[in-house]
Symmetry: C2
Subunit: 207 residues, 2 copies
DNA sequence: TGTACATCAGTGAACGCGCGTTCACTGATGTAC
DNA sequence: TGTACATCAGTGAACGCGCGTTCACTGATGTAC
């Protein structure tokens, strides 16, 4: 469905860039399929003609890359907001992990695309050109590491290598989110207990 | 590249079905992209014309489904072969998990496609129409459950709910395999230790 | 205040391509008589 | 043993479609004089 769109005033052409990314996100969220983010479909959705996109993105792939970056910033913002102000280290750990899984469950298509392909080493999660005020993926991961270290220092965890334990825990949460999406019809045990088991055992939280 | 192909003798037309699946698998393994399994590309690869495929598959999607089924049987065969004859329950558990991760690492594209989309409830992993002699996905999962139960019964694991622990362990292995593929450039700690930590902590193997 | 002009956010038509799918067919081979 | 015929594993040409990308352009708006 084409939208009526009034063109941006001079000097504000860059606004269209955001509108394009939003349109691409919306297409992904509706269809669940990365392939439905076509240049032409994005243009239709944004209410512009296809060639207009080239003023803002080099090619179709650049749109997808922008979608992935935006999704990463969304996730990282959700995580930092969730744990903000929580003092108890174990609660901080649980809340952060729960927010991570919440994002994966509530925005399954976004989440899948974020991790669905080999990403460029320069990309958001590892060493991107990050906009001011945004965290790198590595910095976000560091929050998890610090969280586990906090538990250990408070005597609430037996972790002796918080970085390694965080890597293991992240991997496990990633798989927990992913498998449940892939296998909705598997006779999963209680999700809450699974989540607890993964966090407590892998972060070595004391009983 | 087109192959020279001699047509199958009468009554053996069904052979082409396997050749088509093999061709699709080869395309996937080479490009790593599910989208490169197009009906026409598969036909070219198999050395036949595109319409010939319709004698064996209803549409393009049916080819992909057959690829996924074949990949599942490959994985399950690899698992059962790996643990065959191993008596020690902890060794059995470790070997089985190691074989699972080995498949995911060595055949990353196959593995990704297997779990990359919402699968039909009727499909291989849960309740497929399984060829004789092949295990269901659920039956394969049961091997992991039994493996953990074996450890517990031998006093080598503290698991009190082998099914739930198996589900958690499987999820974690799935994520471990997937994240490493997605984030090759992440500064992962030692993989062997990570694997051990995941298995031992989630299956509650005693130190 | 008025006007010429540069800027720039877009448009519209066209291109070649590979795709999935359809249709009518061909030609080798086994079988019935 | 010879031949007509049914079977069936494929072929070849064609279709309409949406795609990414290119090109030359338009027309509103701010700015210089």
């Amino acid at each position: 469905v084409n939208q009526v769109r009034t063109r941006n005033p001079r000097g504000q052409g860059a606004r269209l860039r955001d509108e394009i990314v939003d349109a691409a996100m919306a297409l992904l969220e509706e269809s669940g399929r990365e392939e439905s983010i076509t240049l032409r479909a994005v243009a239709r959705r944004a209410g512009i003609t296809a060639p207009s996109i080239y003023a803002h993105f080099e090619d179709r792939d650049a749109i997808l890359a922008a979608v992935i970056d935006a999704a990463f910033y969304e996730l990282i913002d959700a995580l930092t907001a969730a744990i903000d102000g929580i003092e108890d280290p174990v609660e901080r750990l649980h809340t952060g992990c729960h927010a991570y899984l919440g994002f994966a469950v509530e925005r399954p298509h976004r989440y899948r695309v974020m991790f669905g392909r080999d990403r460029d080493p320069e990309s958001a999660i590892v060493a991107p050109a990050v906009p001011a005020g945004k965290l790198t993926g590595l910095e976000a991961f560091q929050i998890l590491v610090d969280s586990i270290r906090g538990c250990a220092e408070a005597g609430r965890s037996d972790s002796v290598d918080p970085f390694a334990d965080a890597a293991v825990l992240w991997s496990a949460m990633h798989g927990f989110a992913g498998l449940q999406q892939s296998l909705e019809h598997f006779p999963w045990p209680d999700r809450v207990q699974m989540e607890h088991a993964i966090i407590d055992r892998l972060a070595r939280v004391r009983d």
